[in-house]
Symmetry: C2
DNA sequence: CCGCATCCTAGGCGATACTG
DNA sequence: CAGTATCGCCTAGGATGCGG
């Protein structure tokens, strides 16, 4: 894992395994999952579902409160939940009645992912002031 | 950190600190940094820069090789590098000559972030088959 | 060699209205 | 209550050309 920085040739060799992981985006879900965490709502959904089982509408209201600036649209919540379900992070339980009763909760796999996401969030929060400071310095020398 | 799942009221109380972190997106760089890692190129740039110092063009060629499906455009590479620089993850060194010589490398903060990103990538890769399996099952019952 | 300006397209997301 | 369909906006990001 130690890396010497000299010839480009070496660098290419060193990064070969990363290419292995990143190059074949087709089969590797790395980009998709990273994209999940980076999008507007999915991480927040994971955090809320970490507290238990939620109905669709209740979850929607909760997300609106947490993010506050603006509520998630019904359509997008359904989309996000479907994506999370497809990847095995969320379990969906429905009764085909009218009105429907649908519940969502984390799977064990989703719970793991939530833990990983939370670690990243914690790291970012811990470095928030450093980042903020860097931005101020950068922006000041930009004008 | 232990969470009981019963009344919505409890859930709301439990999530109060998450609201603290997520609700005020204006000052909190959490979403922005998460977005960084989720976007098309930034994580890959961090991985490459973890190997040392790179010139713009060289870096561009390297990224093209790693991601292969399609090279990063010159414009976007400049944009991404600027964002990373603004947040204090990347240091830029330039000589105002013609032709210019510009070099990029990770800051200590950027190096940390790269480590975090790599942990996430490793986790995803470790669970890749589980995710893949979940998707297959989901897609099969969708038709 | 590097950055910027311009143009263009695909996709994420919100709003609304409608069904079972 | 949950999901779907349609619309329209806005941003990420690719292509190209110029200028220092």
């Amino acid at each position: 894992m130690k890396i010497e920085n000299s010839q480009p040739g070496n660098k290419i060799a060193v990064l070969a395994d990363d290419m292995e992981r990143h190059g074949k985006e087709r089969d590797a879900p790395v980009r998709e999952v990273m994209g999940l965490l980076g999008d507007r709502w999915s991480t927040l959904i994971l955090l809320v579902l970490a507290t238990g089982t939620w109905r669709h509408a209740e979850l929607r209201r909760m997300l609106g409160q947490l993010s506050a600036e603006q509520a998630i649209s019904q359509r997008v919540l359904t989309l996000k939940l479907r994506t999370l379900e497809r990847d095995g992070f969320v379990a969906r339980t429905a009764s085909a009645e009218v009105p429907p009763k649908v519940s969502y909760e984390l799977t064990p796999l989703g719970s793991e992912l939530q833990g990983e996401a939370r670690r990243l969030i914690d790291w970012i929060n811990a470095r928030a002031s450093a980042i903020h400071h860097a931005r101020e310095g950068f922006d000041r020398s930009e004008d």
